[in-house]
Amino acid sequence: MFEHLTATLRGIGHRVIDRIWHLGAGARFFLHTLALSGESFRRLHLTIREIYFTGVLSMVIILVSALFVGMVLGLQGYNTLQKYGSADAIGVLVALSLVRELGPVVTALLFAGRAGTAITAEIGLMKATEQLSAMEMMAVSPIARVVAPRFWAGVFSMPLLSALFSMMGVFGGFLVAVPLIGIDNGAFWSQMQANVDWNVDIANGLIKSCVFGVACTIIALFEGYDAPPTAEGVSRATTRTVVNSSLAVLGLDFVLTSFMIS
């Protein structure tokens, strides 16, 4: 009985230490990536190529999702607001919800699922097929040549994708509110214009999406780089990317929102 208890405690302790070690290795990887980022800017074509793969190719899923999210927001918002006789404020509700919260958060979650998993799988397979070792043996740092351009591509892409998400979401909300429900076109846009503040609402959304961009991309890169070089290792790393990125985005969103509101 006593032995069983100590074995369980040892197991828990081992897992906690393992997680802390993993976190520390991730932090070192992040600093190493920042330190070797010079080449991503000196040879901008490397970063631009990755922006295409992570950003441009994610646009379809981002825009289609945003359209539906905006339309649902329009329906739900109207359903609630009309009870208080404020149906005209639907434009403000849709815009603020998207710009402050849903835009950055849903974009980051979709980014983790679409681009993050692709990054992890690609880096993990490069490791499994010794491409990263080959690069090292050619005196080329894989962090500078492979990791850093992908990192900055993710960091640049996320705010742009988030802005596109919000824009398309507002359009979705407009489609439901104005042509479908019959809210006045002028009221929809003018209330939105009057109540959405550039310095507060849009800037806060932008800060959030930048932070999420850093978090999601570095998690995807680290999981790929750290993956055991086997099919199972890459598969597990890809799953961890989605789980860890999603939790990081939601946790960071709470922390950032608390600071922004206070």
């Binding site: 491409q131 080959a134 050619m138 080329v140």
Partner: protein
């Protein structure tokens, strides 16, 4: 300048406290093709990785061109690697780059040569391995032998002084194997380089190398010219060269007594 490009002395290395190399001594003379042979898990590839500075020894030294590898900083190691080429077991070509771009990769990374010169050099290297016509193909479109030849062209792209081959014959058909054997010898002599070939293919290796080290359980158990070793009476060398199933390297993995194991009713 020493006659040996690589000198390994009393090298010990362990993975997670599991000793892998124990007191290895090896010399690799300039201009020669030297093979490191031995069974799977004997520490051959680890020796290559120690020479390339990808691993650090627990004790002992690896000198490349007179410099102790593990005493070099990361800049020093990268500088040293520019004079090395390495062919990985399955080529390790960059799958997102074409054959041409794979061979051009080290040139673009380490030189400021104009694209027109790089083009000429790449075609020269690809012509040397017989794949000038495959320059526009992607790695996924190549056979195993072709991948290995492209990787070889990439390994010699910067005319290295030392070329390392990790199992260059693994999984190749006899024709591709013959082509690779020919290329290793020809390129080594043409470039005036030194080659280290890690392999367990006895007949191919003995046909073209100048010297052989036999490694077993992390130790050098025999060394000599292919001629000496093919007539060696040493039990390990004899078993390895003649491909015998049982001998100093046992057929069975260490296990408890067979009879007792079968009579035990539970515990699989």
């Amino acid at each position: 300048m020493s006659d040996n490009i690589v000198e390994i002395s009393d090298l010990n290395f362990a993975y997670n406290d599991q000793p892998l190399l124990r007191g290895i001594d090896m010399l690799f003379p300039r201009g020669k093709v030297v093979a490191i042979m031995g069974g799977s898990g004997s520490g051959k590839t680890t020796t290559l990785r120690l020479i390339g500075g990808q691993l650090k020894p627990n004790s002992g030294t690896v000198r490349v061109d007179g410099k102790v590898v593990h005493e070099l900083g990361s800049d020093g190691i990268y500088k040293m690697r520019r004079k090395m080429g390495m062919l990985f077991q399955f080529g390790a070509l960059f799958t997102d780059l074409s054959v041409f771009d794979n061979v051009a990769f080290p040139m673009r990374e380490h030189t400021d040569l104009p694209e027109s010169v790089i083009r000429d050099l790449v075609l020269l290297k690809l012509n040397a391995v017989g794949l000038r016509g495959a320059r526009d193909l992607m790695p996924a479109e190549l056979s195993g032998g072709m991948s290995r030849r492209v990787a070889l062209a990439r390994a010699v792209a910067l005319d290295p002084m030392l070329i390392m081959y990790d199992e260059p014959f693994a999984g190749l058909d006899p024709i591709s194997m013959g082509v690779i054997v020919n290329l290793i010898r020809r390129l080594n002599d043409a470039l005036g380089a030194t080659s280290i070939v890690v392999t367990h293919d006895v007949h191919e290796a003995f046909s073209f190398v100048d010297y052989v080290y036999f490694v077993s359980a992390g130790q050098v158990v025999a060394e000599g010219t292919p001629k000496d070793l093919s007539t060696s009476a040493m039990p390990y060398v004899h078993q390895f060269v003649h491909g015998e199933a049982d001998g100093p390297v046992p057929f069975h993995y260490a296990a408890p007594d067979y009879r007792q194991d079968m009579l035990r009713s539970t515990h699989v």
